[in-house]
């Protein structure tokens, strides 16, 4: 077959030499058209668009998620979550007030440079009124800078570094999923209670070697300090992102003899670490806690059938907690749409669209940014992860959503196949317990030389929560 192709190419070359420049130009044009035709479906796939058309939209929202590579599953789940949010908005908001939303999603490839370019294009070309999404904290910082410079509201849905809402805070940035402070504050309370019970003292930390990991560690240390939990740090380790071999780290952790190991590894990295830690017997003498991402559905699905002892996990959303009608509806709707159960990314993106939709419904479909910011600050939202009798709200001081968090242990549960283990035996922390103290927020901002802080205390009194 191949020699004949070569012969054909040779013949084509000879024939071309005999043709007029016009004929050759026409041939090139045909070739380019054919190439364009072949690659068009791929180019079209690079952008996903849903909601209403551009002509009839009250607002266009430009979202950036990884749609390829390791984190692609979070991007895919986020898109499904946003579709569910559009449907729920239409059902929940008063007729006539439902904003007509057009949502654009592009693949940020988990790269800051790519996400920045996409964000600029969204603003320039598509005239988006909101930026949203982003899984990686590092990428989110870059997009947040675009949001600050271009004064376009950004609603973060799935990155967690508390730096974005504390040191790098600016008025146009909001986040509607738990941040590292929230998760670590819940974790610190859990650890404080555990210390009273069993007197643990030695703590080790292992987290990914980029902003998210380091901020999570700092948040945990500060949250433990706020609660006066005395402890000795026996190791803190920083494997690179996407490390396949944790043997050396596991040996180092064993040598450090911690009572409790806290990790901020996430996704495939946490799964790989957990598999290797279990096989090497790390959990026989130490407990392992992951307060921010460890209870994600993809992790639980990877654990097999036998619940490992000594695991303490949580996540930014759970499929089986709270056992409320709203959460059940969200999880079941997602399953109907996608044929599988969601990771927490789906609920974050869902919350983002709900927040934007409600802000537009309240402020007016064509309200300016200032009005929208005022509505978003302090906004109360009923979301799938709110236990009965509580609602999430956005802290005006940090623009971070404030929600209850549950930490659980691994138990057998076959209701969410293919996972055979889920979290259970919950310890629940109320939302108001998990906010960073105002003086801490301000001292961190002052230390970082932050310039864009909000004057005065604007948090609602705790009794209203």
């Amino acid at each position: 077959m191949f020699p004949s192709i070569r012969t054909w190419l040779r013949q084509t070359k000879t024939a071309q030499a005999d043709r007029s420049p016009w004929l050759r130009a026409r041939q090139h044009l045909w070739a380019m058209a054919a190439l364009f035709g072949l690659t068009w479906p791929l180019a079209a796939q690079a952008r996903i668009e849903f909601g209403v058309s551009a002509a009839s939209a009250d607002a266009t929202i430009g979202c950036m998620f990884p749609l390829a590579g390791r984190a692609a599953i979070y991007g895919r789940d986020s898109i499904a979550g946003m579709k569910l949010a559009l449907a729920d908005l239409a059902a929940e908001v008063k007729v006539g007030q439902v904003p007509r939303l057009r949502i654009l999603v592009e693949d940020d490839r988990s790269k800051a440079s790519v996400a920045t370019r996409i964000a600029e294009q969204f603003i320039e070309r598509d005239k988006v009124r909101f930026l949203c999404g982003v899984v990686s904290s590092g990428v989110a910082q870059a997009v947040s800078r675009v949001s600050r410079t271009r004064q376009v509201i950004m609603v973060g849905t799935d990155h967690a570094s508390s730096r974005l809402t504390i040191e790098d805070f600016h008025r146009h940035y909001f986040r509607v999923s738990n941040d590292t402070w929230t998760s670590m504050a819940a974790g610190a309370r859990f650890l404080a209670a555990a210390q009273k019970k069993d007197g643990w003292r030695r703590l080790a930390f292992i987290g990914p070697d980029y902003d998210y990991g380091h901020v999570a560690w700092r948040d945990l240390e500060q949250a433990l300090a706020v609660l006066n939990v005395t402890h000795e740090v026996t190791a803190h380790l920083w494997p690179r992102l996407y490390e396949p071999d944790y043997t050396a780290y596991i040996a180092r952790l064993k040598a450090a003899k911690p009572d409790i190991i806290v990790t901020a590894l996430w996704g495939g990295d946490f799964i790989a670490f957990l598999k290797q830690a279990l096989a090497a017997g790390l959990l026989e003498k130490s407990r392992l806690a992951n307060f921010d991402t460890g209870g994600n559905y993809d992790v639980l699905a990877s654990l097999g059938e036998q619940p490992p002892a000594g695991l303490i996990l949580s996540a930014r959303h759970h499929n089986n907690w709270p056992a409320t009608a709203r959460n059940r509806k969200f999880v079941n709707d997602f399953h109907r749409l996608e044929g599988r159960f969601p990771t927490y990314a789906a609920e974050g993106a869902y919350a983002g669209i709900i927040a934007i939709g409600r802000a537009l419904a309240t402020a007016g479909h064509h309200a300016d940014n200032e009005k929208l910011i005022r509505v978003l600050e302090g906004m109360h939202l009923s979301l799938p992860e709110d236990p009965d009798g509580t609602v999430s709200h956005i802290d005006p001081e940090t623009h971070q959503i404030v929600q209850a968090q549950a930490i659980g242990e691994v138990v057998a549960d076959t209701a969410f196949a293919p996972a055979r283990l889920m979290l259970g035996r919950w310890t629940v922390y109320r939302a108001e317990e998990l906010q960073p103290p105002l003086d801490l927020v301000r001292s961190r901002r002052a230390k970082a030389g932050a310039t864009d802080s909000i004057p005065g205390v604007r948090r609602p009194p705790r009794s209203t929560l």
Partner: protein, 300 residues
Amino acid sequence: MTNLLAILFDGAIYASWLFLVAAGLTIIYGVMRVLNMAHGSFYAIGAYSAASLVGWYFSGQTGNPYWSYLLLLGSALVAGTLVGVAIERGLLRFLHGKDEILMVIVTYALLLILEDVTKLVWGVDPYFANQPYRLLGQTEVGAVLRFATYDLALIVVTVAIGLTAWFVLNRTNKGRLLRAVIHDREIAVAMGVNVDAMFTVTFAIGSVLGALAGALTAPAISVTPGIGVEVIVLAFAVVVVGGLGSIGGAAAGAVLVGLARSVAVHMAPEMELFVIYGVMFLVLAFRPQGLFGQTLVRRI
């Protein structure tokens, strides 16, 4: 003493993984002078094939679980051979003798294409196949250290692969022919060696080794899109340290990088990444051709 033992074993485990990943890359470069960027894709395809086959095997809940190790090896052999032969015969053989930079660009394009092909075939959901990893349990070393036996077995498998490669290259007729091609392609052709066939076989061996690295790693990780791209940088670091095209060099590079990384994790965890590339910098500063690389005479 315990710490030293831990450093040595951790270093050996990581070095064996590095050698597995880098061996195919260096063999292909040594024989074909192709710096194969698509090697990471062979790793990914091996990992996906193994994870899906092992997952299927254990979902049946029948049969001896130890057969899963044969599935790991078999899947790498089949997937690596098929992909390697297809790429060499269908693409690279039209580019033999072309500039090395062009080959880097072509194989990089191939890496991107195969990355998408793996997504089309296996989707973006993670694959898990940890049964073979846990099946072997743990092994005590020196009464104080315990390692997953699978990791220790990886050292044995890697040594076996390294020795086999050395034996084939140095003690068999085919190996001698291969070395003749490495030494001087034109003379080899003049002496009647079928260089085209040699290239196909070499590329297939390289891709099988890449796939094998992926298949043997799959039980210890979550197999997700992008894993191939992540290993290629490390594989290059090892191959460059050892000297491009040298199996012995790849082994030495893997041991050096593996031990340096292990020392860093135990003594100065913040320095881990720096140490890996620091070793590369130091070697290249004093021996630009790598530890075992030969200085090439440039003909003008």
